[in-house]
Protein backbone atom coordinates (compact mmCIF):
# COMPACT_ATOMS: atom_id res chain seq x y z
CA UNK A 1 0.00 0.00 0.00
CA UNK A 2 2.61 2.55 1.08
CA UNK A 3 5.04 0.94 -1.34
CA UNK A 4 2.55 1.48 -4.20
CA UNK A 5 2.36 5.14 -3.29
CA UNK A 6 6.16 5.46 -3.38
CA UNK A 7 6.36 3.70 -6.79
CA UNK A 8 3.68 6.00 -8.19
CA UNK A 9 5.45 9.01 -6.67
CA UNK A 10 8.72 8.06 -8.33
CA UNK A 11 6.94 7.65 -11.67
CA UNK A 12 5.43 11.12 -11.36
CA UNK A 13 8.57 12.80 -10.00
CA UNK A 14 11.54 11.24 -11.85
CA UNK A 15 14.12 12.84 -9.56
CA UNK A 16 12.70 11.08 -6.49
CA UNK A 17 14.82 8.22 -5.18
CA UNK A 18 14.36 5.48 -2.61
CA UNK A 19 15.58 6.25 0.86
CA UNK A 20 17.04 3.61 3.18
CA UNK A 21 14.50 2.76 5.86
CA UNK A 22 14.20 0.01 8.46
CA UNK A 23 10.42 -0.02 8.54
CA UNK A 24 8.15 2.12 6.39
CA UNK A 25 8.85 3.10 2.77
CA UNK A 26 10.76 6.34 2.46
CA UNK A 27 11.67 8.55 -0.45
CA UNK A 28 14.10 11.38 -1.18
CA UNK A 29 12.85 14.25 -3.29
CA UNK A 30 14.59 17.45 -4.38
CA UNK A 31 13.46 20.52 -2.49
CA UNK A 32 11.87 22.01 -5.61
CA UNK A 33 9.49 19.03 -5.90
CA UNK A 34 8.76 18.75 -2.18
CA UNK A 35 5.45 20.57 -1.85
CA UNK A 36 4.11 19.13 -5.12
CA UNK A 37 5.10 15.60 -4.06
CA UNK A 38 3.49 15.98 -0.63
CA UNK A 39 0.34 17.44 -2.17
CA UNK A 40 0.24 14.54 -4.64
CA UNK A 41 0.49 12.02 -1.79
CA UNK A 42 -2.27 13.76 0.11
CA UNK A 43 -4.66 14.09 -2.85
CA UNK A 44 -4.04 10.86 -4.78
CA UNK A 45 -3.00 8.47 -2.00
CA UNK A 46 -5.13 9.77 0.89
CA UNK A 47 -2.23 10.69 3.18
CA UNK A 48 -4.48 13.07 5.04
CA UNK A 49 -2.53 13.16 8.30
CA UNK A 50 0.86 14.81 8.69
CA UNK A 51 2.35 12.97 11.66
CA UNK A 52 5.55 14.93 12.06
CA UNK A 53 7.88 17.43 10.49
CA UNK A 54 11.45 17.09 11.65
CA UNK A 55 14.97 17.66 10.43
CA UNK A 56 18.32 15.87 10.43
CA UNK A 57 21.52 17.74 11.21
CA UNK A 58 24.33 16.05 9.30
CA UNK A 59 26.98 17.82 11.43
CA UNK A 60 28.99 20.93 10.80
CA UNK A 61 30.49 21.28 7.37
CA UNK A 62 28.29 18.61 5.78
CA UNK A 63 26.57 19.44 2.54
CA UNK A 64 23.65 19.61 2.75
CA UNK A 65 23.86 20.35 6.45
CA UNK A 66 20.10 19.85 7.09
CA UNK A 67 17.48 17.51 5.69
CA UNK A 68 13.79 17.99 6.45
CA UNK A 69 11.69 14.85 6.91
CA UNK A 70 7.90 14.59 6.67
CA UNK A 71 6.03 11.65 8.18
CA UNK A 72 2.69 10.94 6.50
CA UNK A 73 -0.11 8.65 7.62
CA UNK A 74 -3.36 7.76 5.93
CA UNK A 75 -6.35 7.56 8.24
CA UNK A 76 -8.47 5.81 5.58
CA UNK A 77 -6.03 3.32 4.06
CA UNK A 78 -4.84 1.00 6.80
CA UNK A 79 -1.11 0.61 7.25
CA UNK A 80 -0.17 3.47 4.97
CA UNK A 81 2.79 5.39 6.36
CA UNK A 82 5.60 6.99 4.36
CA UNK A 83 8.42 9.38 5.00
CA UNK A 84 9.49 12.04 2.54
CA UNK A 85 12.89 13.69 2.92
CA UNK A 86 14.41 16.67 1.16
CA UNK A 87 17.74 18.48 1.60
CA UNK A 88 17.38 22.07 2.79
CA UNK A 89 18.39 25.08 0.73
CA UNK A 90 19.91 28.22 2.21
CA UNK A 91 23.06 28.58 4.26
CA UNK A 92 24.35 26.47 7.13
CA UNK A 93 23.36 29.15 9.62
CA UNK A 94 19.95 29.67 8.06
CA UNK A 95 18.69 26.62 6.19
CA UNK A 96 15.36 27.00 4.44
CA UNK A 97 12.52 24.78 3.28
CA UNK A 98 9.06 25.56 1.91
CA UNK A 99 6.18 25.56 4.38
CA UNK A 100 3.40 22.98 3.94
CA UNK A 101 0.87 24.77 6.14
CA UNK A 102 -1.23 25.25 3.01
CA UNK A 103 -1.31 21.48 2.48
CA UNK A 104 -1.91 20.41 6.08
CA UNK A 105 -2.83 23.16 8.58
CA UNK A 106 -1.41 20.87 11.27
CA UNK A 107 2.07 21.54 9.91
CA UNK A 108 1.99 24.92 11.63
CA UNK A 109 3.25 23.87 15.08
CA UNK A 110 5.49 21.10 13.73
CA UNK A 111 7.33 23.64 11.61
CA UNK A 112 7.56 26.07 14.51
CA UNK A 113 9.12 23.33 16.63
CA UNK A 114 11.56 22.44 13.86
CA UNK A 115 12.46 26.10 13.50
CA UNK A 116 12.87 26.52 17.25
CA UNK A 117 15.11 23.54 17.86
CA UNK A 118 16.95 23.09 14.55
CA UNK A 119 16.79 26.55 13.04
CA UNK A 120 15.18 25.57 9.75
CA UNK A 121 13.28 28.55 8.33
CA UNK A 122 10.05 27.47 6.66
CA UNK A 123 9.30 29.96 3.92
CA UNK A 124 5.64 30.91 3.62
CA UNK A 125 4.83 29.94 7.21
CA UNK A 126 2.13 32.31 8.55
CA UNK A 127 3.60 32.70 12.05
CA UNK A 128 7.12 31.33 12.37
CA UNK A 129 7.89 31.94 16.06
CA UNK A 130 9.64 29.77 18.62
CA UNK A 131 7.29 27.32 20.31
CA UNK A 132 9.28 25.60 23.11
CA UNK A 133 12.10 27.97 23.96
CA UNK A 134 11.21 31.59 24.67
CA UNK A 135 11.25 34.43 22.16
CA UNK A 136 14.71 35.92 22.03
CA UNK A 137 16.57 32.73 22.96
CA UNK A 138 19.73 33.00 20.87
CA UNK A 139 20.39 29.35 19.96
CA UNK A 140 18.81 26.34 18.29
CA UNK A 141 19.40 23.62 20.89
CA UNK A 142 19.12 20.43 18.84
CA UNK A 143 21.89 21.41 16.43
CA UNK A 144 25.02 19.30 16.63
CA UNK A 145 27.28 22.12 17.77
CA UNK A 146 25.00 22.97 20.72
CA UNK A 147 26.17 21.24 23.94
CA UNK A 148 23.61 19.21 25.92
CA UNK A 149 24.30 21.20 29.06
CA UNK A 150 23.40 24.41 27.28
CA UNK A 151 25.12 27.76 26.91
CA UNK A 152 25.01 30.49 29.51
CA UNK A 153 22.59 33.26 28.62
CA UNK A 154 20.01 35.54 30.25
CA UNK A 155 16.67 34.60 31.77
CA UNK A 156 13.69 35.43 29.52
CA UNK A 157 12.41 38.29 31.71
CA UNK A 158 14.87 41.09 32.49
CA UNK A 159 13.44 42.37 35.80
CA UNK A 160 13.23 38.85 37.26
CA UNK A 161 16.79 38.17 36.14
CA UNK A 162 17.89 41.35 37.89
CA UNK A 163 15.92 40.64 41.08
CA UNK A 164 17.15 37.08 41.42
CA UNK A 165 20.63 37.45 39.96
CA UNK A 166 20.01 34.17 38.15
CA UNK A 167 21.14 33.33 34.65
CA UNK A 168 20.47 30.43 32.33
CA UNK A 169 23.51 28.30 33.08
CA UNK A 170 25.18 25.33 31.49
CA UNK A 171 23.76 22.45 33.54
CA UNK A 172 26.30 20.65 35.76
CA UNK A 173 26.98 17.32 34.09
CA UNK A 174 28.81 15.67 37.03
CA UNK A 175 30.71 13.37 34.72
CA UNK A 176 27.58 12.70 32.66
CA UNK A 177 25.48 12.74 30.57
CA UNK A 178 23.55 9.65 31.57
CA UNK A 179 24.38 7.11 28.91
CA UNK A 180 23.89 3.45 29.71
CA UNK A 181 26.13 1.45 27.40
CA UNK A 182 24.58 -1.63 25.82
CA UNK A 183 25.25 -4.63 28.01
CA UNK A 184 25.78 -2.60 31.14
CA UNK A 185 23.69 -4.50 33.68
CA UNK A 186 23.76 -2.30 36.75
CA UNK A 187 22.08 0.97 35.78
CA UNK A 188 22.94 2.58 39.10
CA UNK A 189 26.63 2.21 38.30
CA UNK A 190 26.06 3.31 34.72
CA UNK A 191 24.67 6.61 35.98
CA UNK A 192 27.68 8.94 36.00
CA UNK A 193 26.45 10.87 38.99
CA UNK A 194 26.62 7.66 41.02
CA UNK A 195 30.39 7.93 40.64
CA UNK A 196 30.36 11.48 41.96
CA UNK A 197 30.47 10.86 45.69
CA UNK A 198 31.17 14.38 46.82
CA UNK A 199 27.69 14.49 48.39
CA UNK A 200 28.63 11.64 50.73
CA UNK A 201 31.88 13.33 51.81
CA UNK A 202 33.74 10.17 50.79
CA UNK A 203 35.66 11.96 48.13
CA UNK A 204 35.96 15.70 48.27
CA UNK A 205 35.25 18.01 45.37
CA UNK A 206 38.45 19.45 43.93
CA UNK A 207 37.89 22.78 45.70
CA UNK A 208 36.88 21.23 49.01
CA UNK A 209 38.44 19.44 51.93
CA UNK A 210 36.46 16.44 53.18
CA UNK A 211 34.21 17.32 56.10
CA UNK A 212 34.41 13.92 57.70
CA UNK A 213 35.76 10.51 56.87
CA UNK A 214 33.16 7.80 56.68
CA UNK A 215 33.97 4.40 58.08
CA UNK A 216 33.18 1.53 55.74
Amino acid sequence: MSADAVIALKAKFPQATDRASADHPAVNVPLADLVAALRYLRDEWAFDLLMDVTAIDWAEGASPRFTVVYHLLSSTRAGSYVRVAAPCAGTEAKPTAPSVVDVWPGANWHERECYDLMGVTFEGHPDLRRILMWDGYPYHPLRKEFPLAGIETDLPVADIAEATGTRVIAAPMAGGPFVASPGEVNLTEAEPRAKDESWADRTARPDQTPLRQMKD
Binding site: A149, G150, P156, I169, A171
Partner: protein
Amino acid sequence: MVTANSDLGYNTKVEGGVIVSQADAVINWIRTNSMWPMPMGLACCAIELMAVGGARFDIARFGAEVMRFSPRQADCMIVAGTVTYKMAPQVRRIYDQMAAPKWVIAMGACASSGGMYRSYATLQGVDRIVPVDVYVSGCPPRPEALLDALIKLQSKVKREPSASRLLSA
Protein backbone atom coordinates in the same frame (compact mmCIF):
# COMPACT_ATOMS: atom_id res chain seq x y z
CA MET B 1 -6.86 21.42 73.15
CA VAL B 2 -8.58 18.34 74.53
CA THR B 3 -6.49 16.33 76.94
CA ALA B 4 -7.19 13.53 79.37
CA ASN B 5 -6.32 15.80 82.24
CA SER B 6 -8.96 18.52 82.19
CA ASP B 7 -7.02 20.63 84.71
CA LEU B 8 -4.50 21.48 82.01
CA GLY B 9 -7.23 22.71 79.67
CA TYR B 10 -8.84 26.10 79.59
CA ASN B 11 -11.35 26.52 82.37
CA THR B 12 -13.73 29.50 82.08
CA LYS B 13 -14.69 29.25 85.73
CA VAL B 14 -11.13 29.72 86.86
CA GLU B 15 -9.76 32.08 84.20
CA GLY B 16 -12.88 34.08 83.46
CA GLY B 17 -12.66 34.41 79.69
CA VAL B 18 -9.05 35.63 79.67
CA ILE B 19 -6.16 33.67 78.22
CA VAL B 20 -2.62 34.75 78.90
CA SER B 21 -0.08 33.67 76.33
CA GLN B 22 2.80 34.94 74.26
CA ALA B 23 2.07 36.86 71.06
CA ASP B 24 4.47 34.62 69.13
CA ALA B 25 2.68 31.51 70.33
CA VAL B 26 -0.74 32.81 69.30
CA ILE B 27 0.34 34.17 65.92
CA ASN B 28 2.32 31.08 65.02
CA TRP B 29 -0.49 28.83 66.18
CA ILE B 30 -2.84 30.59 63.77
CA ARG B 31 -0.33 30.52 60.93
CA THR B 32 0.64 26.88 61.24
CA ASN B 33 -2.91 25.63 61.28
CA SER B 34 -4.23 27.50 58.27
CA MET B 35 -1.35 27.38 55.83
CA TRP B 36 -3.12 27.66 52.50
CA PRO B 37 -1.04 26.27 49.65
CA MET B 38 -0.42 27.80 46.26
CA PRO B 39 -0.26 24.64 44.10
CA MET B 40 2.49 25.34 41.58
CA GLY B 41 1.94 22.05 39.75
CA LEU B 42 4.35 21.97 36.82
CA ALA B 43 4.88 18.26 36.15
CA CYS B 44 4.12 14.77 37.44
CA CYS B 45 4.69 15.74 41.10
CA ALA B 46 1.42 17.62 40.81
CA ILE B 47 -0.38 14.27 40.55
CA GLU B 48 0.99 13.33 43.97
CA LEU B 49 0.05 16.79 45.19
CA MET B 50 -3.53 16.08 44.11
CA ALA B 51 -3.40 12.76 45.96
CA VAL B 52 -2.34 14.65 49.07
CA GLY B 53 -5.43 16.78 48.71
CA GLY B 54 -7.68 13.74 48.34
CA ALA B 55 -9.42 11.74 51.02
CA ARG B 56 -6.81 9.01 51.43
CA PHE B 57 -3.92 11.27 52.50
CA ASP B 58 -6.05 14.29 53.36
CA ILE B 59 -3.92 17.38 53.83
CA ALA B 60 -6.99 18.89 55.54
CA ARG B 61 -5.84 17.17 58.73
CA PHE B 62 -3.11 19.82 58.87
CA GLY B 63 -5.26 22.78 57.89
CA ALA B 64 -3.71 23.13 54.45
CA GLU B 65 -6.45 21.78 52.22
CA VAL B 66 -7.54 25.13 50.78
CA MET B 67 -5.59 25.18 47.52
CA ARG B 68 -5.62 28.80 46.44
CA PHE B 69 -5.05 29.53 42.79
CA SER B 70 -4.79 33.21 43.58
CA PRO B 71 -1.37 34.04 45.03
CA ARG B 72 -2.96 36.85 47.09
CA GLN B 73 -4.75 34.28 49.23
CA ALA B 74 -1.95 31.73 49.54
CA ASP B 75 0.67 31.29 52.26
CA CYS B 76 2.81 28.41 51.04
CA MET B 77 3.86 27.80 47.46
CA ILE B 78 4.36 24.10 46.74
CA VAL B 79 6.57 23.91 43.65
CA ALA B 80 5.63 20.47 42.35
CA GLY B 81 7.56 19.62 39.22
CA THR B 82 10.20 20.58 36.70
CA VAL B 83 10.83 24.31 36.46
CA THR B 84 11.99 25.25 32.98
CA TYR B 85 13.83 28.48 32.32
CA LYS B 86 10.81 29.60 30.32
CA MET B 87 8.54 29.08 33.34
CA ALA B 88 10.98 30.36 35.98
CA PRO B 89 10.07 34.08 35.67
CA GLN B 90 6.38 33.25 36.10
CA VAL B 91 7.12 31.20 39.23
CA ARG B 92 9.04 34.11 40.68
CA ARG B 93 6.31 36.56 39.66
CA ILE B 94 3.66 34.52 41.46
CA TYR B 95 5.92 34.26 44.52
CA ASP B 96 6.27 38.05 44.49
CA GLN B 97 2.48 38.42 44.34
CA MET B 98 1.94 36.31 47.46
CA ALA B 99 1.35 38.34 50.60
CA ALA B 100 3.79 37.94 53.48
CA PRO B 101 4.26 35.80 55.45
CA LYS B 102 4.96 33.23 52.75
CA TRP B 103 6.87 29.98 52.51
CA VAL B 104 8.01 27.66 49.73
CA ILE B 105 8.18 23.86 49.59
CA ALA B 106 10.31 22.43 46.77
CA MET B 107 8.59 19.13 46.06
CA GLY B 108 10.63 16.43 44.37
CA ALA B 109 14.01 16.14 42.73
CA CYS B 110 13.30 18.49 39.82
CA ALA B 111 12.15 21.43 41.92
CA SER B 112 14.96 20.86 44.42
CA SER B 113 17.90 20.47 42.04
CA GLY B 114 16.79 20.08 38.45
CA GLY B 115 16.63 16.33 39.04
CA MET B 116 17.36 14.18 36.04
CA TYR B 117 17.01 17.15 33.70
CA ARG B 118 20.63 18.21 33.37
CA SER B 119 19.84 20.10 30.22
CA TYR B 120 19.76 23.48 28.56
CA ALA B 121 16.05 24.00 29.25
CA THR B 122 15.72 23.27 32.98
CA LEU B 123 16.33 25.51 35.96
CA GLN B 124 18.76 23.65 38.22
CA GLY B 125 16.74 24.02 41.40
CA VAL B 126 13.93 26.43 42.18
CA ASP B 127 16.04 27.89 45.02
CA ARG B 128 17.84 29.87 42.35
CA ILE B 129 14.78 32.10 41.96
CA VAL B 130 12.79 31.82 45.21
CA PRO B 131 13.88 31.10 48.82
CA VAL B 132 12.96 27.51 49.71
CA ASP B 133 12.00 26.47 53.24
CA VAL B 134 11.63 22.71 52.85
CA TYR B 135 13.02 20.38 50.20
CA VAL B 136 11.33 17.03 49.55
CA SER B 137 13.30 14.22 47.95
CA GLY B 138 11.74 11.66 45.62
CA CYS B 139 10.78 11.34 42.00
CA PRO B 140 7.95 11.89 42.64
CA PRO B 141 7.77 11.91 46.46
CA ARG B 142 5.15 9.80 48.18
CA PRO B 143 2.19 11.83 49.49
CA GLU B 144 3.36 11.03 53.01
CA ALA B 145 6.64 12.76 52.21
CA LEU B 146 4.83 15.95 51.30
CA LEU B 147 2.78 15.73 54.49
CA ASP B 148 6.04 15.31 56.39
CA ALA B 149 7.39 18.40 54.66
CA LEU B 150 4.30 20.33 55.69
CA ILE B 151 4.73 19.19 59.31
CA LYS B 152 8.40 20.21 59.17
CA LEU B 153 7.41 23.59 57.79
CA GLN B 154 4.83 23.99 60.55
CA SER B 155 7.41 23.24 63.21
CA LYS B 156 9.70 25.77 61.56
CA VAL B 157 6.98 28.41 61.55
CA LYS B 158 6.27 27.70 65.22
CA ARG B 159 9.81 28.82 66.06
CA GLU B 160 9.61 32.10 64.13
CA PRO B 161 9.77 35.41 66.07
CA SER B 162 6.55 36.58 64.41
CA ALA B 163 5.58 39.34 66.82
CA SER B 164 8.90 41.17 66.66
CA ARG B 165 8.86 40.86 62.87
CA LEU B 166 5.39 42.34 62.70
CA LEU B 167 6.42 45.22 64.94
CA SER B 168 9.58 45.96 62.99
CA ALA B 169 7.86 45.68 59.59
